[in-house]
């Protein structure tokens, strides 16, 4: 991609120098993007993005040369982003952030301020700090994503497991219910649930949980059917094991790995689902910040204040990181 046009016969430049040169070029571009307030924001954004791409390409070459060709810096970056966002969300109350929750305490702050040392990502229409809101919004996104998966995954896996082992009428009923729930496009079902439930974190978790029950039922039913046909299950039955023991001690541990790796991807899907719902104004209401409702509020003003769209970046990065790590884990499992 960035192979230099080396002249044949001339003295070759060592590879390491090229790698460092790419990193340096990237760093310079990012520096220029950060330090030129005169230029159009779009141009600065493009320069910064280009710089990051160069820095990443150079750094990944350096790291591959150091740690071998199998080293995937993308996965490490994704992992560190997730650690960072989880830590930030967990310690939000302790971080030295300007006021970002209560509009009445931010009356003296400037509204729609551009990014500065006091407000790293600027302020919104109430003078609340955008960075602080992003950190508190991360808390909502993560809690809702994990909570939804926990609820939906537990119920769905248990239902699917039972259906796969009992077969017959139970299987038919569970299958029918699954198909009925799956016949609503996800966002439509979510909106219908949101219309019924009062928008609070607990209820949003519940709605998201209901949303993902059918896919967990399908997954665990298919996996359960495969395991239930294996000899050790037959042997357990022959030895007189109870139904509960067979379900929870013989079959469940064997389907758990695939359920868990799927659950990780579902967290990403649910984070997007909650953000979409928030964006439509049907989830947690302002002034409590979520990434979705911050972007919804920014929609009216982002022509003049593009920095209000900042929550889109952590949203994208979080979903991207989770997908990346999920794929990495799956590839590793298939490779073994």
């Amino acid at each position: 991609m960035t192979v230099p046009l080396a002249k044949t016969g001339g003295a070759r430049v060592p590879d390491a120098v090229w790698r460092w040169a790419i990193v340096l070029l990237g760093a310079i571009l990012v520096g220029v993007a950060l330090s030129t307030p005169m230029v159009l924001p779009v141009v600065r954004l493009l320069l910064g993005a280009l710089g990051l791409v160069f820095a990443y390409a150079g750094a990944s070459r350096l790291l591959r040369a150091r740690f071998g060709p199998d080293f995937d810096p993308g996965v490490w970056l994704a992992g560190s982003w997730l650690v960072l966002i989880v830590l930030a969300a967990a310690t939000a109350d302790l971080l030295p952030l300007p006021e970002s929750l209560d509009p009445s305490k931010a009356l003296t702050e400037p509204t729609y301020a551009a990014p500065s040392a006091a407000h790293l990502l600027g302020t919104d229409q109430y003078g609340l700090d955008v960075l602080g809101q992003i950190v508190y919004g991360a808390r909502v996104s993560l809690v809702v994503g994990l909570g939804g998966v926990l609820i939906g995954g537990t119920i769905g896996t248990l239902l699917g497991l039972t259906a796969s082992y009992l077969r017959g009428r139970v299987d038919g009923a569970v299958g029918w219910g699954t198909d009925v729930l799956l016949s609503f496009p996800p966002l439509v079902l979510l909106m219908a649930l949101a219309a019924v439930l009062e928008p609070r974190t607990r209820n949003i978790c519940l709605a998201l949980g209901i949303l993902v029950i059918p896919s967990f039922v399908r997954l665990s039913r298919a996996a359960g059917l495969k395991v239930a046909g294996q000899p050790f299950v037959l042997m357990a039955r022959a030895m007189g094991a109870t139904r509960r023991r067979i379900l929870f001690r013989e079959i469940l541990p064997n389907i758990l790995p695939s359920v868990l790796s799927y659950a990780l991807l579902v967290v990403a899907i649910l984070i997007v689902a909650e953000a979409s719902l928030s964006f439509l104004g049907l989830s947690i209401q302002r002034p409590a910040p979520t990434w979705g409702n911050m972007i919804a509020e920014a929609e009216a003003e982002f022509q003049t204040h593009p920095f209000l769209l900042a929550p889109a970046v952590p949203l994208f990065l979080t979903v991207y990181s989770i997908n990346r790590i999920g794929d990495f884990l799956r590839a590793g499992k298939e490779g073994d």
């Binding site: 991609m1 159009l40 779009v42 141009v43 493009l46 029918w176 219910g177 198909d179 009925v180 729930l181 016949s183 609503f184 496009p185 996800p186 966002l187 439509v188 079902l189 909106m191 219908a192 649930l193 949101a194 219309a195 019924v196 009062e198 990403a268 997007v272 953000a275 979409s276 964006f279 439509l280 104004g281 049907l282 979705g292 972007i295 929609e299 982002f302 022509q303 593009p306 769209l309 889109a312 949203l315 994208f316 979903v319 991207y320 997908n323 990346r324």
Partner: protein
């Protein structure tokens, strides 16, 4: 081994060569399979009506109060309650609603002035359908060439670049994509034009360099010229022909096709992001599998051109799962246009649903989610059934 050969492979060329009666049994089998699918579909739609009706019945708050506002007198409220049938048992209301659904009558809206819900839906359906149609066509037009070339160059720079960009597409929520498009093409259209010009110039220079280097190596300069030429054309077209996109709103076809297309262009682009990624990944995987098969090797050994090998030998047999996914996508888009319709203020079914959920106009919500879900399952079942006619193997692995 002979006993394991499937019926499909041993089927003689002419129908007259079939043993008497076998054709009829097979047709009967297919008919029974189709019938079982239809029965299943009807039972699921019955479940859908149940959820659409009773879920919305759980809504907190009084629909009559929502409709009339705080100044209504008790008499007015009682009259509206009676006219909506809310004073009767829930089961009767459900049966009433079902009767209406069968005849296409979904009641009237709660928000005043009261209009028939079916009319509201019918007026908004064409917008959503146009979005869906354009999205699918555009995604396929972009995804198929990308997938073919990625599979041809699997593991090389082009393939890796395409798959990492598509990875980003998948992680981009719909509303973020829509807002980014607005920011670029509406607020900073000049910057986009400049970028198009820059792209065209850069592509031109790179193409010329690549073509000369290919000549020196006595290889054909054609691939470089085609690829680079396409990039130059795209860049030039962006620079010269980029129209002014409206920030929001919809222009019907009756006011001119050009105005109509520019008003739906950005929403359609925003919707294609995810579909392009899904289609390309799927087709690329299938194509790589197909390219490894013996008939492709044989075709290459005979000296057939790359284009023939890619399109005739591999693309055609790989289209099968793509067609299924396209069908599923059409079904999903019926509910998936909600966000985009909301961002661009398009008068489609999705924006109707958002507005009604916000206003608590529950007859509209019931009707909208029922129609969306019913269309979605019906499309999926039709694909299943069509599959049994297209690919006889399905009938055999799913015996009735």
């Amino acid at each position: 081994m002979a006993g394991q050969v499937t019926v499909a492979e041993t089927r003689p060329a002419g129908k007259s060569a079939l043993p008497a009666g076998r054709g009829r049994t097979r047709r009967a089998k297919t008919a029974r399979y189709v019938l079982s699918r239809v029965v299943r579909l009807l039972s699921i739609i019955a479940g859908v009506t149940f959820i659409s009706f009773f879920l919305l019945k759980l809504t907190p708050g009084d629909p009559v109060a929502t409709a009339l506002g705080p100044e209504a007198t008790p008499e007015q409220a009682a009259r509206l309650r009676a006219s909506l049938g809310l004073d009767r048992p829930v089961w009767e209301q459900y049966l009433d609603w079902l009767r209406g659904v069968v005849t296409g009558d979904f009641g009237s809206t709660l928000s005043q002035p009261s209009r028939p819900v079916s009319g509201e839906l019918a007026a908004r359906l064409p917008v959503t359908l146009q979005l869906i149609g354009l999205t699918v066509v555009l995604s396929l037009a972009i995804a198929i060439p990308l997938a073919v070339w990625s599979a041809h160059r699997a593991g090389r720079t082009f393939d890796r670049a395409v798959s990492s960009v598509l990875y980003g597409f998948v992680a981009m929520p719909g509303f973020v994509a829509a807002l980014l498009l607005v920011m670029l093409f509406v607020f900073h259209a000049d910057a986009v034009r400049t970028a198009g010009l820059a792209l065209a110039c850069a592509a031109l220079a790179l193409t010329l360099v690549a073509a000369f280097r290919a000549r020196r190596r006595e290889a054909s300069p054609l691939p470089a010229l085609i690829g680079g030429g396409a990039a130059v054309l795209v860049g030039g077209a962006v620079y010269a022909l980029l129209p002014e996109f409206p920030r929001q709103g919809f222009v019907p076809v009756s006011d001119g096709l050009g105005a109509n297309l520019t008003s739906v262009a950005l929403p359609v682009f925003a919707l294609t992001f995810v579909d392009i990624a899904v289609f390309t990944r799927l087709l690329r995987g299938d194509l790589i599998g197909e390219l490894a098969k013996p008939h492709v090797l044989a075709s290459r050994a005979k000296g057939m051109s790359t284009a023939h090998v890619l399109v005739r030998e591999s693309l055609r047999p790989s289209m099968f799962s793509l067609i299924t996914v396209v069908g599923l996508t059409i079904g999903q888009l019926i509910g998936g246009t909600i966000i985009v319709e909301h961002v661009f203020r398009l008068p489609g079914v999705g924006s109707l649903l958002v507005a009604s959920v916000r206003n608590g106009d529950y007859p509209v919500v019931q009707a909208a989610i029922f129609v969306i879900a019913a269309v979605y399952v019906t499309v999926n079942s039709l694909i299943d059934i069509a599959y049994t006619y297209l690919d006889p193997r399905v009938r055999q692995v799913n015996p009735v």
